[in-house]
Amino acid sequence: MSAPGSRPVLHQLGGVASGHGHGHGHAEQPYAPVFVGDALAELQALFPKYPTKRACLLPALWIVQERRGWISPEAIDEIGTVLELSPAYIRGVATFYTMYHLHPVGRHFIQVCGTSPCHLCGSDQVLDAIVRETGCGEVGATSADGRFTVVEVECLGACGFATPVLIDDDFHDSVTPEQVPGLLARYS
């Protein structure tokens, strides 16, 4: 089981790790642990569903990202404590999966499919419109106001509904360039 008491110690270690470019100006603010209360209960509720704690790693990373928007080195240390895994192992796994943000992203994260089936149906124009309207300037960038990050992704499994656009957890089907301004207006 987890040892909540050990968390502050690891938190300090996390603080050291955050020196590698993850700081983002919040260095003075104390880190608030994710895995307390509901989030810890949510993770612990998964333990009986898997024969190993290691198997709860992907769910644990999701719990962090849902609550914090990204997965900080401090959060990785916390997961390590609860699941008894080393931070290096967790980073090794987390970096394999494209959906985990190991750096902060904009308030709204936009994924636009660009694989051949959608490309055939004009996904490039949708992506261009989104990059333009969000002010991100280029694919992969975050807008200056921190509102949006836009990335091009591979097949979203919705090729009959080109162009699919995933904004945070909202799946938008059959998006056209004309619809882009109205769509973005829904995300402040």
């Binding site: 569903k49 898997y50 024969p51 190993t52 290691r54 198997a55 709860c56 790693l57 992907l58 769910p59 990373l61 999701w62 699941l83 895994l85 090794g92 796994v93 394999f96 999966y97 494209t98 959906m99 985990y100 994924q111 660009g114 694989t115 051949s116 089936p117 490309h119 055939l120 149906c121 992704v153 591979e154 097949c155 979203l156 499994g157 919705a158 090729c159 009959g160 509904f161 080109a162 995933l166 957890d169 909202d170 799946f171």
Partner: protein, 435 residues
Amino acid sequence: MGYPHRPHAKETVVLSEYFGDAEARTYDGWVKRGGYQALKKALGMTPDAIIEEIKASGLRGRGGAGFPTGLKWSFMPKGDGKPHYLVCNADESEPGTFKDREIMRWTPHQLIEGCAIGAYSIGAERCYIYIRGEFTEPWRIMNAAVAEAYQNGALGDNVFGSGKRIDIVLHRGAGAYICGEETAMMNSIEGRRGNPRIKPPFPAQAGLFGMPTTINNVETLTATSHILNRGAAWYKGLCLNNPKSTGTKLFSVCGHVMKPGNFEITMGFPMKDLIHDLAGGMRPGRRLKAVIPGGSSVPIMTAAEAEAALCDYEGIIEKGSMLGSAGFIVMDDSADLVYEIYRLAKFYAHESCAQCTQCREGTAWTTKILERILKGEGKPSDLDLLLDLSDQMTGKTICVLSDSCATPIVSGIKKFPEEFEAYLSRAKAPALAAV
């Protein structure tokens, strides 16, 4: 029935009957439509009897390889005293394929029922359904449906009073096509990087958590309840061509067609009708150029091959490709094949897990060479180089992702050489800007 389309008269609607019918999503709505009868029936049968029924139906895996499902289930050891696992593959990431998404969005209980039948048949008390991370809507719907199934005794430690335990755990992926490969999926569920494993051992011997495991696609498991309800003979009778391909199947059709969607047809249905009638055919003034019928990992078909083919495992092989996951990528005469092949190579390069040299290097280099050709910087020897690289990438790696990258390239060069020549001879303006 291809939501949002109405059923077409030529479809044989079984799995997709309730697509678009929101009430079918609820437990009560599903029961009202005949749901969970098959599971109750299954619990009254022996696992062996169910496996025989599935074998007799001729059902084959819908995830791409077309392996006979009953036979796969029979590989699971008996009386070994170990926990067994069923894994349902809902990673659906093969470009062109979007059928499992609709099964989960509209008929989550249809899948839960199929998973419960499968788990019981292979002696598993637990089934993990691995849903790709981007499927946020199916994820929500499946979560709600699983909770409802527990409340109503369709899952849990005493399923419908049978004394049998069947649990379903939903596991969310996080963006990696390779996790659709069965052994990569097992690693991913175990909390590891999604690297495919070397076989043997095969999953039925040592799979998830080292235990005997069966892995099946969403559509495969979904079909089982209908087979138990209506009988193996009925399912086997759904066959228009080769007796080795039976039942109905969802065909996802996308790209340059008027009505993209999922169409449920009897195995052996003419491809010409699927493309030109059910999927609405080409846009006005356009004509069919090419089809990739099995998701992106199979050989490209010319229009002539496609229009002569019958839609089943054997029929498509006969015309130079493979059924795969039945995701049809349709291209009309406006498509730039070289560009689309390049974009697919880029997909595979992005998705390679990079543990095999041939795959890691091959996917990256073929992408670079195709890019060079599209920039108008191709060399006359580039086609031979691509073919040579593709050869090095085929049949030499831990999984077939590497082969999958090579397949569209080789078939594209062989069947549409003029498209490549146009760039190489500089007759065609570059599609990509040189940097």
